[in-house]
């Protein structure tokens, strides 16, 4: 057992640190305003071109074939530099890697990993949230294409995406979990209308909603087999729930560092309960940082697509909401007098963490039944 860097890891860390000193874009933490989302592609390609993104993914697709723990170092150093977290798309890479044909992988993974092609994820619908398998967007075969009709929501980056990882119903005559298929659908076409969703802290560039009205996707763009959509979706969401895949550790550490700096700068301006909130947020963020080290070390034995992601999602949610609540507490009256206050916006954004990627209640159902082995009602 060793939490320390190996020589190769230490070399990577110092190279990364030197690069960050020169190339930190100085963007806000992603949760706080639109600037991050607008310039995310720039950050992604800068990280990638410098050799610091896609570390654990296959070199064949533009990754670096490194052990997963290198992502821990990346997150550490991003946080220490006050840089934005790495773009969160590991779950799509995992989904395509686990289920796509060689042709699909060769065609799509390089652009996804390099950031040259941007992706959104078309899963949730207005009437299919926690009950995702009841989704109603249809994909109907028409010659060499499928024709798509339906309405997706909570579609991250739909405004700028080149491709949509779309989950749609290809067979209405089988049980709901068996009639779904996944596609790589080009977003630049008529038949797609995209509108932003404004979140409770006012940001508009993270999530969109997308209407498909006769949009087309080539049959060869199907990811996996017809009817394999539910399994693919479960692979993706199990990774979408993992802080190790998302890189959010860096975001929480950045916020905690900023709060600590504010308190140290004017010690007499903060009450003891505010100081304790900040310290507890530090403990929580440290827990997640160490937890990700353990999880990514376990992956040295091979990647699992299992219910463990739900445990990690719940831990991550508690951390984000503890940090968010502390940020609100530290802001005090400023949070209500200035709608641009950072603490207010970090707090408001944090409330979504117990919903996105599957609600906390769904995660608890999964932990209870699939890890603890409790009976279903």
């Amino acid at each position: 057992m060793d939490f320390r860097d190996s020589p190769a890891e230490a070399e990577f860390r110092s190279r990364l640190r030197a690069w960050l000193a020169e190339h930190n874009l100085g963007l806000p933490a992603s949760s706080t305003n639109d600037e991050y989302w607008v310039r995310q592609a720039e950050w992604h390609t800068a990280l990638y071109d410098a050799g610091f993104f896609g570390l654990s993914w296959p070199a064949r697709f533009g990754g670096h074939d490194l052990p997963t723990v290198f992502d821990v170092i990346l997150d550490d150093e991003l946080a220490a530099a006050g840089a934005p977290p790495r773009p969160s798309l590991g779950y799509l890479v995992q989904g395509i890697t686990a289920h796509g044909s060689d042709a699909i992988k060769d065609r799509f993974l390089p652009g996804l990993i390099s950031g040259r092609q941007r992706w959104c994820q078309g899963f949730s619908e207005p009437d299919a949230g926690s009950d995702l398998a009841s989704l109603r967007t249809t994909a109907t075969r028409d010659g060499d294409d499928y024709v798509i009709n339906g309405h997706k929501v909570w579609t991250s980056y739909s405004d700028v995406a080149d491709w949509c990882f779309l989950l749609a119903r290809t067979d209405p005559d089988v049980p709901k979990h068996k009639g779904l298929s996944a596609f790589a659908l080009p977003m630049d076409q008529s038949g797609i209308e995209q509108r932003p969703l404004r979140m409770i802290n006012g940001i508009t560039t993270e999530f969109g909603q997308v209407h498909f009205d006769g949009a087309r996707v080539a049959a060869e763009n199907m990811i996996g087999e017809p009817g394999e959509g539910w399994r693919i979706a479960m692979t993706i969401v199990s990774h979408e729930r993992e802080p190790g895949e998302l890189g959010y550790v860096a975001r929480y550490a950045k916020t905690v560092n900023e709060m600590e700096r504010a308190v140290r700068a004017s010690p007499s301006a903060f009450r003891s309960d505010q100081r304790e909130q900040v310290t507890w947020a530090y403990v929580q963020a440290e827990m997640l940082r160490l937890h990700v080290r353990r999880r990514l070390s376990e992956r040295l034995d091979g990647v699992e697509h299992g219910p463990g992601g739900s445990v990690d999602k719940l831990l991550m949610t508690w951390v984000e909401q503890t940090v968010g609540t502390a940020a609100l507490g530290v802001s005090g009256s400023r949070a209500v007098l200035d709608s641009d206050d950072l603490g207010l916006n970090v707090y408001l954004y944090s409330r979504a963490q117990s919903v996105m990627g599957g609600t906390s209640q769904i995660q608890k159902n999964i932990v209870a039944t699939r890890i603890l082995g409790l009976p279903t009602a």
Binding site: R264, E276, V283, S297, V311, K364, L374, P375, T376
Partner: protein, 350 residues
Amino acid sequence: MDTRDTPEQAELRRAAHQLAGQLGPSTVADLDDQTRAKRLAVAVHDAGWLELRDDRGDGEPLAGGVEAAILAEGLAETVADVAFGGPVLAADLARRCGAANLGTPVVAYTPDLLGVAVLETPVTTTALHAVDLPADGGPVYGLVRVGGGYRLAQVRVDGAAIGADHGADLTRSTCLIPPGATVVEVPGQRRILTDDELASWTALGLALTSADLVGLMRGVLELAVAYAVERRQFGVPVGSFQAVQHLLADAHCLMEGSISVALHASWAVDDLPPADARTAGRVAKAYCARAARDVCETAVQVHGGIGNTWECLVHVFLRRALLSSQWFGDDGEQLRQLERERLGTVDGLP
């Protein structure tokens, strides 16, 4: 970076799990079975586990903080009623002073249990408490201040052996040492204990108590899940209700987070600079103490009425968690210390 067990660590984990499973109490009534308790104590002694932190000849311990924490966790998982952390911490303190160890020692703590008592010779003037005494209690150690640090001292009550009594924890003893006990420097110490060494020893204390809490969470959660499957109301297992499932899922997640911080703290003892190791211990203890209390309370709740009776084993876990939390400081204490380290002190604030 690889936080997985080495093969030897995995083997030690299996051994602790097996021994504690065979000889630990499986019912509250078992706590009165002196034959079993004696066999457990002999087995732990014969395995050499109490000597893990003894000097291997060059001033370094025979085994790491990780190995000690693995055993602490394994023994706590079945609320094994055997002295372990107490003697191991005392032996570690003696090693750091370069003193030969006599018998199975324990440490005298200040009444707040935050750390080893620093004493004046020739007699103690305040009450002290020994924690986790072995049945055949050996010497009780405190420290005396000398130039540049501390020396190891033995605390004696009228020349008699110090007897154990039970506090909240039914599986490990504590003992009041009233004022007036004799304080004698232990002869033949090869080193003066520095503040750095003392910080490192505190890091071990925080790591072992955190590991104990992790073991308790594992054990009590296993009981609670088993009960939720077996206990039926409204014609179905109570564990099929989401209200109950979500309590247990929360508890499981708290345990998983605790495992991660406790693991790091145990590694830090020997591998990080002393102050950093102690900080790692404080983070772990702050998290584990809060988590363990929540998890034990959940286990009591899931057991319903029976969970609030003496004969249900769950309160034995809760009681032990209370001692492990207080020993080296509970979550509130750790947060207070971390706050000082990270935010500085402010005049007028406690």
